[in-house]
């Protein structure tokens, strides 16, 4: 049976294929975009509406042990936002750490169809996959953490980049992971002793390697393996005043490895590492400096980590930062260090408009989005749930598209912060095509997902139809609430060729695929490596290598992305 859909007369935004708001029809057959459809196709009238590829979220903490510990920590977060069972949906809880079903539904309702969990501790990645498999509708994937991994640090200390690459390739395959994630390189290992690491060139205790060497090494590894996504870096010094210099230094440390115009390093939730100043009192926005660097250097991309005023739950693999946040707020705190690999921490947090620091943070995120000129290298995220729940994306879109929306919020934030931010003087308003770029086309390209984020023939039929009439844009910019509503509740979300959402309601909830990367290294190199790590494995881990690996059959719908390694 062929499933055909014809979306007629919509205003289409497909930046990848240079379609910028043209009136045209989009056809779907068997889950793919096709050139035409038969008369039997289900017809969707999209006249006066905007049609975009399904949203792609490059960085959102939706699954895994840390997310689940966050859920466990905060019954009070769930109680205020429950979903009742309906004939088409399971019940669940929401707000800042939604249950798995609710996560899938809420993304779909906003027209998002692909989401990546950006930090999975390798040892607990089976857990991450269990949760991803329990999250309906969206396609997904996860990034294993490598920045504090003992094997990695030892290979890089000994200058064995190729071995390191072989190891990383094996890990991605064994864990069904998608990209190399680096969080506070070296810093989390040092936190294993309750200590802090402050500089890119400070040696990691016992390992005789520096954060700079780890970042450079893994960047080379990424290149050797030809992975689809660049290294995904949460820098050192997150949350410290003046850390924007660390951000720029981190970007600059791999500059010499640049590869044409393709970014080779992605700095994530850059707002959190965009602080200037030397203390909380003179904290300022480092956004102009970071934006200037990004504008001048094509080897970098960033995502925002925009904050939303209100209550949320912060959770990162950055154990030391989370401890610092706990000491700052006196809020309850979870820490979970994971042997050989990483750590994590969780602290509930409230961003307040009246708070100077929070107001500056809010400004940094938006300044970055507005000052970075190339929308292909800045992606919209809230680092869910660290900056705020993903359900607030429509609000972020409204801030970006409407100066008026920004001014309204600016008028309510801490006055000193308002005075010190550049934001009030920025006129730029995002266009619909730029929004389509930063929320789907660009993240899909950055992830190397060839069939996502656009409407080329053969692309995945993941589509969002929004109730926005592009000819009314001037009106909408003056009425940001309308804009928010439109992006919050898609008229239609089509996932893999099936209509899953109509008018903000879930019609059905099939399960999506899980993307993972296989970069094949030469068989003899791999088997040599395996032999060498096998002997160390039981010494390092409390589980055996057999039980560490995750079979493809463990995933509900695995989707392998192949690439050719250069070794």
């Amino acid at each position: 049976m062929s499933r055909e859909i014809a979306i007629l007369n919509g205003t289409v935004f497909d930046p990848t294929n240079r379609i910028f708001g043209e009136r045209m029809d989009i056809f779907v057959k068997d889950g793919k975009i096709v050139g035409s459809a038969s008369s039997k196709a289900q017809r969707i009238d999209a006249s006066g509406k905007v049609v975009m590829p399904g949203g792609v979220d490059i960085h959102s903490h939706i699954a895994g042990s840390k997310v689940n510990s966050g859920r466990l920590l905060r019954p009070e977060d769930h109680r205020k936002d429950v979903e009742v069972k309906t004939p088409t949906t399971h019940s669940g809880v929401g707000y800042s750490i939604p249950s798995t079903y609710t996560t899938g539904y809420r993304y779909a309702k906003m027209g998002y169809t692909t989401v990546f969990e950006p930090a999975t501790p390798p040892l607990k990645t089976r857990h991450t996959h269990e949760e991803l498999d329990s999250t309906p509708i969206i396609d997904k994937g996860c990034f294993p953490l490598f920045g504090n991994n003992w094997f990695v640090m030892e290979y890089l200390r000994d200058g064995k980049v190729e071995e390191c690459a072989t190891y990383v390739a094996w890990m991605l395959k064994a864990l069904k992971g998608y990209a190399i994630k680096i969080v506070d390189p070296g810093g989390v290992e040092v936190w294993g002793w309750g200590k802090f690491l402050r500089h890119l060139d400070e040696k990691v205790t016992h390992f005789n390697v520096t954060p700079r060497e780890i970042i450079r090494g893994l960047c080379k590894v990424n290149r050797l393996l030809n992975l689809p996504h660049p290294i995904h870096v949460h820098t050192n010094n997150l949350g410290n005043p003046g850390n924007y210099t660390t951000t720029i230094e981190t970007m600059d440390t791999v500059r010499d490895m640049a590869n044409g115009s393709k970014p080779i390093v992605h700095i994530t939730h850059v707002q959190f590492t965009g602080f200037s100043g030397s203390s909380w009192l003179n904290l300022g926005s480092g956004a102009p400096e970071i934006a200037e660097y990004v504008n001048k250097h094509g080897h970098v991309s960033v995502d925002l980590g925009q904050i939303i005023f209100g209550d949320t739950t912060t959770m990162t693999a950055d154990g030391p930062f989370q401890y610092f946040l706990h000491m700052l707020t006196d809020n309850k705190w979870v820490n979970m260090d994971v042997e050989v690999e990483t750590g994590s921490g969780i602290v509930p947090f409230q961003y307040k408009r009246s708070n100077y620091v929070n107001a500056i943070q809010w400004g940094i995120g938006l300044e970055l989005a507005l000052l970075i000129k190339d929308p292909w290298r800045v992606f919209m995220t809230t680092d869910h749930p660290n900056g705020g729940p993903f359900t607030y994306y429509p609000r972020v879109i409204a801030w970006l598209m409407s100066r008026k929306a920004r001014e309204r919020t600016l008028s309510k934030i801490n006055r000193t912060a308002r005075r010190r931010l550049t934001l009030p003087s920025i006129d730029r308003e995002y266009t619909l095509e730029e929004i389509a770029t930063i929320t789907r086309a660009a993240p899909a390209r950055s992830l190397g997902l060839k069939n996502k984020g656009h409407f080329g023939l053969g692309a995945d039929a993941d589509i969002a139809v929004y109730d926005i009439n592009p000819s009314d844009m001037d009106v909408l910019r003056r009425k940001p609430a309308k804009l928010r509503r439109a992006f919050g509740q898609a008229c239609y979300t089509i996932k893999n060729g099936a209509v899953v959402v109509r008018d903000g309601k879930i019609l059905k909830s099939p399960f999506g695929r899980t993307f993972y990367v296989e970069s094949q290294t030469k068989p003899e190199i791999e088997s040599n490596l395996l032999r060498s790590i096998e002997t160390r494995f039981r010494d390092y881990y409390t589980v055996g290598i057999e039980n560490y690996q995750i079979n493809e059959s463990y995933l509900r719908y695995p989707a392998k992305v192949r690439c050719e390694a250069e070794i």
């Binding site: 920590l73 905060r74 019954p75 009070e76 977060d77 109680r79």
Partner: protein, 276 residues
């Protein structure tokens, strides 16, 4: 003042969610309308009429509204939820969560009440003629804010964690209390007239706990301050003398424990810290 009377018709064998029963919801409503209200009995929705014989009338004015509930409500939850005025009188067991998040008015239970009596309470008065369960005036799980105002009077005993996370208001228990009265307390007053099973004021940061009966021992994280001849609870003077402790030091707290000297000879050791 005429009363609306709800008399339970049959035994209920499942949890009964009665948060709808409050003067705020029922005042000015005709009994016919009230009978059509739907509540959950376990996983079924039932009409109030099928559960209760409904008689009398609810006054139109909230403050004058009197609701009388007759029957064993021990499997009911949240009678008087968020009420802000008027009176509810339960003749029989009051159930769980009586007066949760109550903001004003009065609830009288002629009988015992289950756990979480007056949880999250912000104002008004609850009087229980019998005993109350654990977690009187408690905070919702995971939050650090319990009772923020109002008065709870229990004539019988109360369970453990009475007044945990309390920020303000008054709790008076005439009988004895379980462990951990005033745990994590931030403010307000708790007076236990009977004995207490121990660990009073654990992790308290503020507020005042007056224990007229026996307390096995004071937690080691409290500091002995003084002996006082009497203390005030609400508008009353309570005669001592009392040993006064401050704490809980483990939380950098500045709460006060008043422990009646006459009932607690085992605490005599602290007198050696009296400045002479």
């Amino acid at each position: 003042m005429s009363a609306l009377e709800l008399t339970l018709r049959r035994t209920v064998m499942a949890p009964l969610y009665l948060d709808i029963i409050s003067p705020d919801n029922l005042s000015g409503k005709r009994w016919r309308e009230i009978g059509d209200y739907i509540v959950w009995e376990g996983n079924r929705k039932v009409k109030l009429r099928s559960l209760f014989k409904i008689e009398g009338e609810a006054e139109a004015n909230l403050q004058d509204t009197l609701i009388e509930i007759v029957g064993d409500m021990s499997r009911a939850r949240r009678i008087g939820y968020r009420m802000s005025g008027g009176v509810i009188r339960v003749r029989g067991h009051g159930g769980l969560y009586v007066g949760e998040s109550m903001r004003g008015g009065r609830i009288i239970v002629d009988g015992d009440a289950g756990p979480w009596l007056g949880a999250n309470m912000a104002g008004g008065t609850i009087e229980v003629s019998g005993s109350a369960g654990d977690h009187v005036a408690a905070a919702s799980l995971g939050t650090d804010k319990g009772m923020t105002g109002g008065t709870i009077i229990v004539k019988g005993d109360s369970g453990s964690q009475t007044g945990a996370w309390m920020h303000s208001g008054l709790i008076r228990v005439s009988g004895s209390s379980g462990m951990f009265p005033g745990a994590h307390m931030r403010g307000g007053t708790i007076h236990i007239i009977g004995d207490c099973s121990g660990r009073a004021g654990a992790n308290m940061r503020g507020g005042k706990i007056v224990l007229s009966g026996k307390l096995p021992t004071v937690l080691p994280s409290f500091t002995f301050e003084d002996i006082r001849s009497q203390t005030r609870v609400d508008k009353d003077n309570v005669e001592g003398p009392f040993y006064v402790f401050s704490g809980d030091n483990n939380e950098g707290g500045d709460g006060r424990l008043f422990i009646k000297k006459a009932s607690n000879p085992q605490l005599k050791w602290c007198e050696k810290f009296l400045e002479v």
